[in-house]
């Protein structure tokens, strides 16, 4: 894939927003309200700097320093019985804050509790691998590298996992285009007609949701279809015939009794 024109944020936007509506936050509670989490937090705070902590949707969320991640994971695994790392990945906040937010979803099967460890890193900052603490991070970190381009230090095999190795850019960045190779949209016009016809034919339409009301070759009002190339007409036409109206019957002789399996079991 070639380089593409950089956008700040290619994500779909709501085309209408009520200016008096602001979405409420998901309710959060203090960690002290849950005994188990409070004890875990106390144990962690004695060793590491916890910037922020709260309970949201029944799970504790902790914000730590990026440098501490490995030590925190070892502490969680060996001291606090959080011995299962369900998932880890990143969130792209580059446009808003110039940083990625990483989350590690932990589970303790003995305490039946889940917590999420989070921290932010700058765009060009690398993180330390935890794949030697939890092997499940091996592929999760590779996937994160593949999707966001975040370098993971000391990873045993940091190679693109899902995308091809020669792929340009990282798909889950908000700057990544939704319509693919931009240079490719002129390819057919350039090769068939020549570059000078770009203005005549126009770019290839790649917005899959685009519907042109005046486009009678691709779309027409039902029962207002006109022959190829003609102007749209407001008069109803009879080009489309429906079975219900006595038009083309789809099945002429249908014997429902004969073909239905009444009892299969």
């Amino acid at each position: 894939m070639r380089e593409y024109q950089n956008r700040k944020n290619a994500q779909a936007k709501a085309y209408y927003s009520d200016r008096f509506y602001s979405a409420p936050p998901v309710p959060t509670t203090d960690v002290a309200t849950d005994e188990v989490f409070a004890a875990d937090l106390k144990s962690l705070e004695s060793k590491f700097k916890i910037a922020k902590s709260y309970i949201q949707a029944g799970q504790m969320v902790l914000f730590i320093n990026p440098e501490d991640i490995k030590a925190v994971m070892i502490h969680l695994k060996e001291e606090l019985a959080y011995n299962f790392m369900s998932e880890m990945s990143a969130i792209d906040f580059l446009e808003k804050a110039g940083e990625f937010e990483l989350f590690y979803q932990m589970l303790s099967m003995t305490k039946k509790k889940r917590l999420r460890v989070k921290f932010s890193i700058k765009e060009d900052q690398a993180v330390e691998t935890i794949s030697d603490v939890f092997s499940s991070a091996n592929w999760a970190e590779r996937e994160m590298f593949d999707m966001f381009g975040i370098i993971v230090n000391n990873h045993p095999y940091l190679k693109r996992l899902i995308m091809p190795e020669d792929w340009n850019s990282y798909p889950l960045l908000k700057t990544y285009p939704l319509i693919g190779d931009e240079a490719g949209q002129w390819y057919e016009i350039d090769t068939i007609f020549g570059k000078e016809h770009r203005a005549v034919v126009g770019p290839e339409i790649r917005d899959t949701k685009r519907v042109d009301a005046k486009d009678t070759t691709q779309f027409a009002r039902v029962r207002h279809e006109v022959p190829y190339g003609e102007a749209p007409s407001s008069k109803p036409t009879n080009y489309a015939q429906f079975q219900e109206d006595g038009g083309v019957p789809l099945i002429t002789k249908f014997n429902g009794e004969q073909k239905t399996l009444k009892d299969r079991k």
């Binding site: 709501a14 369900s86 889940r114 999760a140 299969r264």
Partner: protein, 410 residues
Amino acid sequence: MQTPNRLKPFYENLVFEKEGNQMIVNFGPQHPSAHGQLRLILELDGEQVVKAVPDVGYLHRGMEKMAENMIYNEYLPTTDRMDYIAAASNNYGFALAVERLLDIEGEVPRRAEVIRVMLLELNRIISHLFWLATHALDVGAMSVFLFCFREREFAMDLMEDYCGARLTHSAIRIGGVPLDLPSDWIDNLHKFITKMPENIADYEGLLTENRIWKMRLEDVGTLSTEEAMSWGCSGPTLRGSGVAWDIRKEEPYGIYDELDFKVPVSDKGDSYGRYKLYMEEMQQSVEILHQTIPLYKKSPHGLMAKVPQYVSATKEELMTDNFALMQHFVLVTQGMRPPVGEVYVATESPKGELGFYINSQGDPYPYRLKVRAPSFFHTALLQEILVGTYLADVVTIIGNLNIVFGEIDR
């Protein structure tokens, strides 16, 4: 390097080393036993695997990217295409995550909860039957494949009667279920689940004491408890290594806390133990389905949560109440706007822990959606578990781990 000539043609998938017994085999991505598009680069010493490198991504459709550009309801049919063998569990995982984000979990009507559990457990049987069929076929038991697919067909008929689709159900929606059960569905379900234990006994009669089956599965793909925990294994793969962890039991969602079922565990850690466990899980799903029938009959009418801000009203209300229609129009064209925050919800899919992480910034589109697919971690495990096994066991282990590529590549 190979030097091809007329006597020694060029082998695309083989690299012969002159010294020693080393050979590199390129297993897949088009291999009938790879269960999808798995490419496995195996380094062999004789017949023994020295190194295995799984290569995935041939079915990548960018589902997490798609989620960021779709409204929540629009994304629901996409989740069908992840674990396409058990689409209802994906629908449910996503719907439950959104419901927890919206804090409307308690609003889902009782009848909808019962129907959801019915669909989930029926889907679990379908998925396990598919697993047994293909796994037995890989190992060489053709007749089991035919038996399993027959019963799976009956279960899929039930699915089809309910929602019209056989694989991609989209039958569980955010806030409830779209339809009530058809009139004779309960009778058909009852017929199916009373027959099912006999069928399971048939499969077990064909396999459990079968000499070849035991030779191919016993002590193959042995996974210790520590390994299973560290590699993020879940579901039957984790329970096969002696960890009694079933999210339905330990962190009950829906009506699972009212249902009486056992969580089978095998402490052997090998493929045969996991096979026994799958059979027992099918039995337990049948038990659960038996219990849901009276619950359904007792449940009051009502299928979708009544939260006009997030969930459209019923069809009758839309046709009679103008304001409900206006709200419906806004929900369909613009989508719901959930609160700002994040949520991670794990459910027990037939394959293991299926988790949905949603980060919402208050827009109709999720800011980030991460799918924690169980098969993804089970595929990562291959590079560890295959080392030291024989080439013939590779197929057994891949089949036994029950991986589905729709949810690995997403």
